[in-house]
Point group: C2
Chain length 416, copies 2
């Protein structure tokens, strides 16, 4: 009698999509290898909180090994995948070769600077722990520098913060930064005239959070203006040289700070895949989430391009990634049993975005609302979704503290 070895499933990426795939395969009769460039899963929706000194990196990042301590069929490897051979079914990683029976590419997205070299050089971004901490250090340093700058023009430029991109990340960062200035920095720098400080949110389109229903877009705009954010719609950025932002209409803003949240593109590793790419380098996949000619190779999450029922591609959101992770796991289990994989259907769980203290917009079960109730839902949903019971308690404690005492815990400038 033949004893067949257990099939080997390789998952690239421990973001929302890869993590969910791995978890859903916990009881599968298979060997799973999960690979990530870092040793932690990052709860990216709260990364902007690291940048505004509200949370610490370890409170939203959790070691992958700890998550899978009890999952015996899984091995974690930290390292960078440098090549994928779909024909021969192996990947290359740090000089070694790993063969697979099933492959799940959940490599995520990176910042898209659209070829702006100067932006890549001088702009700040919120993509991983390192870039968020660098943004925090830069923002806090601006206040320090301004506190001993005698020239009022230079001081004003140091206290001008430009955020480009009116999506959820841009909106959340602008609102939170404006509150940090109004409540915390005002106390830390009593001699500094923070009336000079400005937070400017630049968006090329006609609306903030364009993917949301119109009443939520309007509510967001109103809430941000209440928080003193200078929102500039229909405004395109043309250049940033580290000292000055130039807009497409020729106007300029003197500032040393530009946070770029206006673009994402699929991870580098999918570039080399022999598959058709859609906008932002995302890989066109089948309704079963696999690559057209390779039913055992799945691409899910931000790196995948799959049109929704209405013909629009599914957005780069954690909710899409998590549902696709579950569907990929299910299809692999079906295929291991010799059955046909099934088509993926996205179930919209609703939309949520926060604009700061007591202010958020939400659309749940078809109902749109904004303000304090939406904000409370946002707070508890995000605490619930953070991995690790300890992290949940600490984040809850910290947010409660910040809420009542107008304080931010993590105002450290660290050397890089």
């Amino acid at each position: 009698m033949n004893i067949k070895p257990k099939p080997h499933i390789v998952i690239i990426g421990a973001g929302f999509a890869g993590l969910e795939t791995a978890r859903r395969l916990a009881k599968a009769p298979a060997r799973i290898t999960l690979i990530d460039k870092t040793n932690h899963h990052l709860f990216q929706p709260l990364l902007y909180q690291v940048a505004i000194a509200g949370l610490l990196p370890s409170q939203i990042a959790y070691p992958v090994r700890s998550i899978f301590r009890r999952q015996k069929n899984l091995t974690f490897q930290m390292g960078e995948v440098t090549g994928i051979n779909l024909e021969e079914k192996f990947i290359k990683m740090d000089g070694s070769v790993i063969a697979y029976d099933y492959l799940v590419i959940a490599a995520g997205a990176r910042t898209n600077f659209f070829g702006f070299d100067t932006l890549e050089k001088y702009g700040l971004q919120l993509k991983d722990v390192a870039t968020a901490v660098a943004t925090r250090n830069h923002l806090l340093s601006m206040f320090e520098n301004a506190s001993h700058e005698a020239d009022p023009e230079k001081r004003k430029a140091m206290l001008t913060f430009v955020i480009v991109g009116g999506g959820p990340t841009g909106v959340e960062t602008a609102g939170a930064l404006s509150e940090l200035i109004a409540h915390v920095m005002r106390k830390d720098y009593p001699r500094l005239n923070l009336g000079d400080a400005r937070v400017i949110l630049v968006e090329a389109g006609a609306n903030l959070i364009a993917a949301y229903p119109d009443e939520l877009r309007k509510a967001t705009l109103r809430l941000l203006k209440n928080k003193n954010v200078d929102v500039r719609l229909h405004t395109k950025m043309a250049d940033f040289n580290g000292q000055r932002v130039t807009l497409a209409d020729g106007a300029t803003i003197e500032t040393q700070t530009l946070i770029w949240t206006a673009g994402a593109k699929a991870a580098e590793i999918v570039e080399s895949l022999p598959a058709e790419k859609a906008g932002m380098g995302r890989v066109r996949i089948e309704p079963t989430l696999s690559l057209p000619l390779f039913p055992e190779a799945f691409v899910i999450g931000d790196a995948a391009f799959l049109p929704n029922g209405d013909g629009q591609p599914l957005p780069m959101l954690s909710t899409v990634a998590i549902q696709q992770g579950g569907a990929a796991a299910k299809n692999i289990k079906l295929m291991m049993e010799g059955k046909e994989p099934r088509a993926f259907h996205y179930k919209d769980p609703g939309l949520l975005a926060t604009v700061g203290r007591n202010a958020a917009v939400a659309r749940i079960f078809g109902i749109s609302f904004s303000g304090f109730i939406a904000w409370m839902i946002w707070v508890f949903l995000h605490i619930y979704r953070i991995i690790g019971f300890r992290n949940r308690i600490i984040v809850m404690f910290n947010w409660a503290w910040d809420y009542f005492f107008y304080d931010n815990q993590a105002r450290l400038i660290t050397r890089e």
Copy 2:
């Protein structure tokens, strides 16, 4: 009638000594400028906890501006002092000149590599937030690398950790690292044979924690051995090339990790002072804590050299720094009133060192003891001394969690 302007007191350094001086001058009729290279006060006795992933930097570092929010006579400036002119009474900082009436130099100490270039290049140290985080990243990476290293000799070298220096920092780091391996890493790396892992503590002298009474030195040695630390007394390090430690007797240890805790010297800024230097570049000061020819210029803390009653210099300890900070503040107040400054006398508050879980040694009120009770005293004293009520609660919660669940919160490898 003449209105005399308030005297200007400049304090260099926001460590234990500088912070205490500034606080004790809260009600003085003076303008105070406090200067530090960083924007935070660091609770250095717990820095080794950052290195072993037990605490986060912000839990033991607190923004200086927040500490002095309510002290109206004080201005904080972040920056580096580049020159001191004692004759003309001014300092230079980031291109500007600041005149003073009284000067307190509390610039602290830095790591002393005793001219070992290779050590400076390849060795790890625990001096500030950046070096502690770099040490953490290195330690955690060794386990990741070992987990996919096929060669057993190389794997063993990756899991060999050498700590040089048997003072309190070396002892605390060795004990904590050994526990991290035994309790946490064993769970995170179930496939890795952690029987290969070794923590080696190298000390050139005949004793660990040489400044402590003999019964505590013996207790420390016993507690460390219980925790599987390989303690090597009478052992001198000769070289470290990043791959191998060579000892003075020619023996070698294959390892990629050397944490250097065996030397400190006074901060760079005191090198240029026209004053006599004692061992480790420390400045010889008068019993009133001022420089011999400049009664208005004080040097306190680790950078100062002052013999105790028994002729031995006061050690580089936070308790000495804090008491000197109080004494310097008092002497400045006396001098502002036209009175004579007084000589400083150090009151020994006792000794404490922890060796890890349930294990510490203490000497308080002339009584030496070790074990669980000493450890509980250590825990509560350290929580009490951390700045910020929030930090105290969070550190207490985290330690309790780690204690009961054998978990360490901060196991993130961050890019540098």
